[in-house]
Amino acid sequence: MQVFTRTRLLLAKLSLLVFAFMAAGFIPHETLADPLPVYFGGFAFVGDYSAKNKLYPHTAALMDADTNKPSQFDRDLQRRLQSFNNATFSLELNKLGALGPKSPSATALAFALDRETVSIERIGGQYKLLVELSAQALFFDFKEYAVVASFPMTVQYIDLKKHEPTSAEIQSIVRDLYLGNLGVNIFDEFVGTLKNVSLSPSISRRIRVTAVSIEEESRLALPESLKSDDAALQAFIAREFGKYLSKNQHIPVLPYAVDTAVGKTMAMRISDGSVYSLKIPQEDYAIQLGLVKFKKVEFQKTAAGSSFIYGAFLRVKAVEPLSGVAYFDATIKNGATKIIPMGQDVVDDWAAHQESLLALIDSFTKQLSNPEAEWAETHTGTKSNVGNMKNFAKVLQSCK
């Protein structure tokens, strides 16, 4: 009897404690409520309806050639998501059409392709083929037509060929990046990203890369294709930064989407032909990036070859736009070493610079989980920036 009473008292105290924590909002949503129903809208293109074939020529050609309904892309996505589990949301497949005023949720999800890049560079006697796909796990409010959260992802495939790649070869690679087994697959990335998503019923604070500036000194290292195309380079840097920030900090990042946005809306066409103009909500925190410069310095020379350090310098400013309060404002830098064997006449410097830049962004966004003074000193020039990194980290925490 005494044991029972003690147990009862303990339970009562525990209940009070649980209640007190709940009242204070300390218990995260996933432990309180059922997973939020999310209606899957399938494969989608981001951008103007009329520009689909121009923006995504290979993917659009694959989709247009597929007369099945649902398309092979949609079937493959659905197959991968059949046994999908996430504690914060449950996926409702094939039910988007049934979504109505009495639905328990108005949140929908799409695999939204936002970039398809194919570049061919002649290096020495070979052709370097780069195929890159960039997409978002895009959660949007189906009633309000507004972006709720976006989790970006990118896959890249590089091949060296002795002949100039044909259109059929490129299309085959693009197809395999969705459906094949090249070692990288964007649908795998999509499912992997979704597994790590913690979808809050009301995403509290929103962050977005709002601007990217290209400083003159950085242009010296750019390939010809990017020297006269600032918009492409800006979108590339913004999306890569957003992708790594989202992946490493597990936060949603609103789309950059300057090239596809009219005002603050983003057009999206899902594979059944339905078109939505999604509103992009105003960001609470803005990230402004500046590509400062690239450097190539010979580090060591031996009989076997030379090693070079490829330096990348990126200015990062995180700011609350209304007050102008800057949480972080510094130039971060990284040096990546590349060995050039003796006898290699032609070097793809841009690939090395790009690799250095992406490694810098990856490292910086990882550091924000637990900023270290040593990292700050090596990569920003002063230990004192660790305080600013901690400030930035607090902002990111508030965006979860």
Binding site: S15, F19, M22, P104, P201, V275, S277, Q282, E320, S323
Partner: protein, 377 residues
């Protein structure tokens, strides 16, 4: 066990509340910023004071962002009443940044506030003179709006009048010099006479022709014939907005069919009512004790394809005004337009209906805001 039951009950309620929160439309939000000064150390009450002021600032910014002067005027009329209970107009507030300047003893707070837009709109409507007037004393208003679509357009070539002034001037300078010499020599056997002459003639003829051209081009406006469309949707939407705002809306069926016919005829060929029709309308309104008459057109424009999403898009141009017929004169009490609204849809019919409804609602709200701002009862 009672406590446990209570806790579990609350748990369920919280869970449901969170789930349904997303099913409802997300409330609009606005940012607010404020700087407050404090004495001594920054206290919790100083922070609370800053939070309340930041909420008010967010609400002010929310209204200003509409860029709608009548709405701003209406808001200013009830602002004190609203900020006295600011927490019922701001659903929630998120702190975005805090700055403490210890030397200056100032605290700056930036927030994003979710606005209870429905309650705010109701407060502005409820405080209007119209809303506070007893039912029997409310002024009546009648809406005579016409939706039109171009039937035919007759364009006229520009008439060009040309004028050329030509001036012809001739200047002649002539100089004639004549030198003559005569001689005579008489010898024994002969007589020789000589006559030599030299004449020089210089003549300069300067002829100047100058032409000044000019004239005028007379442009004649296109002669547009309009098809008058059914206005049931427009009337429903307009009456809905105005009735919700407390206005007593009179149906156009109360006007003589002949007058309505004249109105439609005028608008089928012109953008304005003829003076005769206007006078008849005023007289009819006076006879029915209707002091406010809203007249105007909603012109359906051409359709195109929205390049962003491939849907059919139709524009509607709105031109409306409210005439007040109190006293011997009538004058314009409020006006909207010309302003364009657009509608979209999978077919032209749906896009047109969408555009007309959007235009009717927006125009009615603007007229209502203008009338409320003028204290119409």
């Amino acid at each position: 066990m009672q406590i446990i039951k209570t806790a579990i009950t609350i748990f369920v309620i919280v869970g449901v509340a969170l789930s349904t929160a997303t099913a409802d439309a997300a409330p609009p939000s606005a940012k607010g910023i404020v700087t407050v000064n404090y004495s001594g150390k920054l206290s919790a009450s100083a922070k609370q004071d800053a939070m309340q002021k930041a909420k008010i600032n967010a609400l002010d910014r929310y209204i200003n962002d509409f860029d709608d002067q009548p709405k701003e005027r209406n808001y200013s009329l009830v602002r004190n009443q609203i900020i006295a209970s600011i927490d019922s107009y701001v659903l929630s507030a998120l702190v975005l940044s805090e700055q403490v300047d210890e030397k200056a003893h100032s605290y700056t707070l930036t927030i994003r506030a979710d606005i209870n837009d429905g309650k705010l709109e109701n407060a502005m409507k409820d405080s209007s003179a119209m809303a506070n007037t007893a039912n029997g004393e409310k002024s009546l208003i009648i809406f005579v709006f016409v939706a039109r679509q171009q039937k035919s357009v007759q364009s006229f070539d520009d008439k060009k009048y040309k004028r050329a002034d030509i001036q012809h001037g001739v200047t002649v300078n002539e100089n004639v010099n004549r030198d003559t010499t005569e001689s005579e020599k008489v010898g024994k056997s002969k007589v020789v006479t000589g006559d030599s002459g030299k004449a020089t003639y210089n003549a300069e003829h300067d002829a100047t022709v100058s032409a000044t051209t000019g004239g005028s081009i007379v442009k004649r406006a296109d002669l547009v014939e309009w098809d008058i469309a059914q206005t049931a949707d427009i009337n429903t939407v307009t009456a809905g907005v105005m009735t919700n705002a407390g206005y007593d809306v009179v149906d156009t069926d109360n006007l003589e069919p002949a007058l309505m016919q004249a109105i439609r005829k005028d608008y089928s060929g012109s953008n304005d009512l003829s003076p005769a029709t206007t006078q008849s309308l005023i007289a009819a309104a006076k006879s029915l004790d209707i002091p406010y008459i809203a007249v105007g057109t909603l012109d359906v424009g051409v359709r195109d394809i929205d390049p962003a999403n491939g849907r059919i898009r139709v524009y509607v141009k709105v031109n409306e005004r409210v005439l007040t017929a109190r006293g011997r004169l009538f004058k314009t009490a409020a006006a909207v337009g010309p302003v364009d609204f657009q509608g979209e849809g999978p077919s032209e019919d749906i896009a047109r209906t969408d555009a007309l409804k959007t235009a009717a609602r927006a125009a009615a709200e603007q007229l209502m805001n203008s009338l409320n701002a003028k204290g119409v009862q």
